[in-house]
Symmetry: C2
Subunit: 143 residues, 2 copies
DNA sequence: AGATTAAAAGACATTTTTATCCTTTATATG
DNA sequence: CATATAAAGGATAAAAATGTCTTTTAATCT
C-alpha cells in the first residue's frame, strides 16, 4: 500500500508529535528504540523529512528532532508524497495513461471511489489531527 | 498500491479473457506486444499464474495461453495475492500487530473503511465481471 | 580556541523487485 | 522417429528499496 519508508516516516513523525517540542528535542536513536526502526535508516528518513520541512532539527549538544507548530499542520499525504512520490497511491491501478472517470480502465470503478476517498482523507488530515485522536484515546501508537 | 507484477498479471489475464478461448490460445509474445509488457518477464508472470490455476496453458505447436471457464471465475484478489502476497493490501498501514477496529492505529480509521471496501471489491469481483464491463463499453483496455 | 555532541552527507552493503537469457520438457506434425 | 513449436524452469543481471557505516558540518559548552 505505502512503502516501508513511508511507514517509518509516519511513525517517527507521530512519535515526535506526541513526545517532542521545541524545548524538548529528541535524538534519532531515542526515536529508533521505541519505534523499532533501524537507527541509521531512520536517520536517513528524518533527514529527508527535515529537508522538506516536515520535521525540524538542530545539531549539536541539546539538539535533536522536534515538530514546530508549522510542522504539526503537515497533511499526511505530504509525508507519503515525499517518501513514495506522487504516483504510488494516485496512479491508475493498471498504470494506464488515459484512465479517468470518463474513460475508466477495467479496475477503475472497482477501486475508484474508495481510493479517491482514501487519498482525500490523507490530504485533509494533518499530523495534528492524528495526535488529537491519540490523546483522546481514540487510537493507539504502541511504544 | 499494487506491484508492477500484479498490474502485469491483471492486464495479461484480462487480455486473455477478452481475446482467447480454449480453441484460440495465445502466445506469450502475442500478449507482450499489445500490452507493452516485456516478453521474458511476462512469461514468468504467466508461469506463476498457470501454477496457481489462474490461466491455462498448453505447450508445443498450437499451444499458448487461454482462460478456461473455471479461470474466468477467478476473483481479482487472488491474482494480487499470488503476485504480491497476502499482506500488501490488507496489513495495517503502520505494520503494527495489534491494529484492529477495537484497538486502531492512528491511521486505521483514516483508511479503514475505504481499504476494507477496496479489498472486498477485489474479492467479490471476478475476471469475468470485468470482462462484462469491457464488452458493455463501460470500461476500456487500450490495446 | 578546543572538545564534545548530534544531525547532515556520502559511501557502501544487502535484499527485493524487475528484467533477460538459455536450457529443458511437453506437444504436435510431417 | 525426427523436427519444430511453445511453455516451464533455471541462472543471471540490472534497478530500486532497505539497511549500515564513516566522515563532515553545525552547535554548544567548557
Amino acid at each position: 500500500m505505502i512503502s516501508n519508508s513511508s511507514k517509518y516516516a509516519v511513525k517517527a513523525v507521530l512519535y515526535l508529535a506526541v513526545n517532542s517540542s521545541e524545548d524538548h528535542k529528541i535524538l534519532a536513536k531515542d526515536i529508533s528504540t521505541p519505534t523499532n526502526i533501524p537507527k541509521a535508516y531512520l536517520s536517513k528518513v528524518l533527514q529527508e523529512l527535515s529537508r522538506h520541512n516536515i520535521v525540524s532539527s538542530v545539531r549539536g549538544p541539546g539538539g535533536g528532532f522536534y515538530l514546530s507548530k508549522e510542522n504539526i499542520k503537515t497533511p499526511l499525504m505530504k509525508i507519503i508524497q515525499v517518501m513514495d512520490g506522487d504516483n504510488r497511491l494516485t496512479s491508475c491501478m493498471l498504470s494506464l495513461q488515459e484512465c479517468d472517470a470518463e474513460h475508466p480502465c477495467p479496475m477503475h470503478d472497482l477501486v475508484g471511489n474508495t481510493k479517491v476517498n482514501f487519498v482525500k482523507n490523507l490530504e485533509e488530515n494533518t499530523v495534528g489531527d492524528l495526535v488529537k485522536d491519540i490523546k483522546a484515546g481514540k487510537s493507539f501508537l504502541p511504544l
